[in-house]
Symmetry: C2
Subunit: 181 residues, 2 copies
């Protein structure tokens, strides 16, 4: 049989209403002072794909409605819940009060390599992504439960932040699928 692309109907895409009422995966994203609204839009699109519980937008991170977010989010700001905090510190304190597990995605002296990370899928797992230039602020690093690092082998040691987002979300989702089988 010839191989061919599946169409929208065959892909079983869900409507915004269906998505809003069904249970989410136990995963949330915190954006700590992200400079580029295009990166924010890209995070929304990835979070829609992986049925993420919520995106927390902190500090200078742009919030919807925003033309630049719209360009890369392609409508996913309607399907993904989000909340704004003036500072990332306040956000992390709120998440910890709610007994969520909070991970910073950052290269630190104590970070765990992503391939070695083990997640508790019964808890909400929150992943903090930092500013494109500065990374996660030092104060936030000292508040999170632990830091996770994407192993890198090249000259740069810095992936685009929305690419890092896709990598960490997929790592979580693939481990969750494996555990559920």
């Amino acid at each position: 049989m010839k191989n061919e692309k599946r169409n929208s109907f065959e892909l079983l895409r869900k409507s915004v209403n269906e998505i809003k009422t069904e249970p989410k995966n136990n995963i949330s994203i915190v954006l700590d002072n992200i400079r580029s609204a295009q990166n924010v839009g890209s995070f929304f699109r990835t979070c829609d794909a992986f049925n993420v519980d919520k995106i927390y937008l902190c500090g200078i991170t742009a919030t919807p409605p925003n033309k630049e977010i719209f360009k890369t989010a392609l409508g996913s700001t309607e399907s993904v819940d989000w909340q704004y905090f003036e500072t990332t510190i306040e956000c992390i304190e709120f998440l910890k009060l709610n007994k969520f597990r909070v991970y910073g995605v950052e290269q630190t002296i104590k970070s765990i390599m992503l391939n070695n990370a083990e997640f508790d899928f019964d808890k909400i797992n929150c992943f903090v992504f930092g500013n494109e230039v500065e990374g996660i602020s030092a104060e936030v690093i000292n508040l999170v439960d632990s830091c996770i690092e994407i192993p890198q082998f090249g000259t740069k040691h810095s992936l685009n932040v929305s690419v890092s987002g896709g990598i960490v979300l997929w790592d979580f989702i693939s481990k969750m699928i494996t555990q559920k089988i």
Copy 2:
């Protein structure tokens, strides 16, 4: 002990010369008529991080030197090998002549879910990513060895192509690390 970010020295970043002479991971990327030069730049940056063997740029895909690629590649066009083909078909034929394993990253009626994909780490594994709107062309889908699909649960079923790149590369690298342990 307080947790803190590692500096450039502690990250053991490699120089372009070191990277150019050391063995690469058995993985290559094919970009099939990618419209956005920023996406191309982002692929270069991800390929630098994961020590990718080569990027094949095909059709309308922009090639270095290019101002838009430079903005998102941040110098990684110097550390990652690339080659241009006028058509993706010619490129795939070249890869198959070289006995490389060629995967399309696409949602097709026969695609294998990424979490179920098993790779032969002794061969060069090439992953084809398609145009932002059209995806991989039908002719190319019928030339590749098989198609791989990133499972998606939302309203859109379309991740940003450079985010998809990060996800597939990380899936490959993490399975390779696990196999080598």
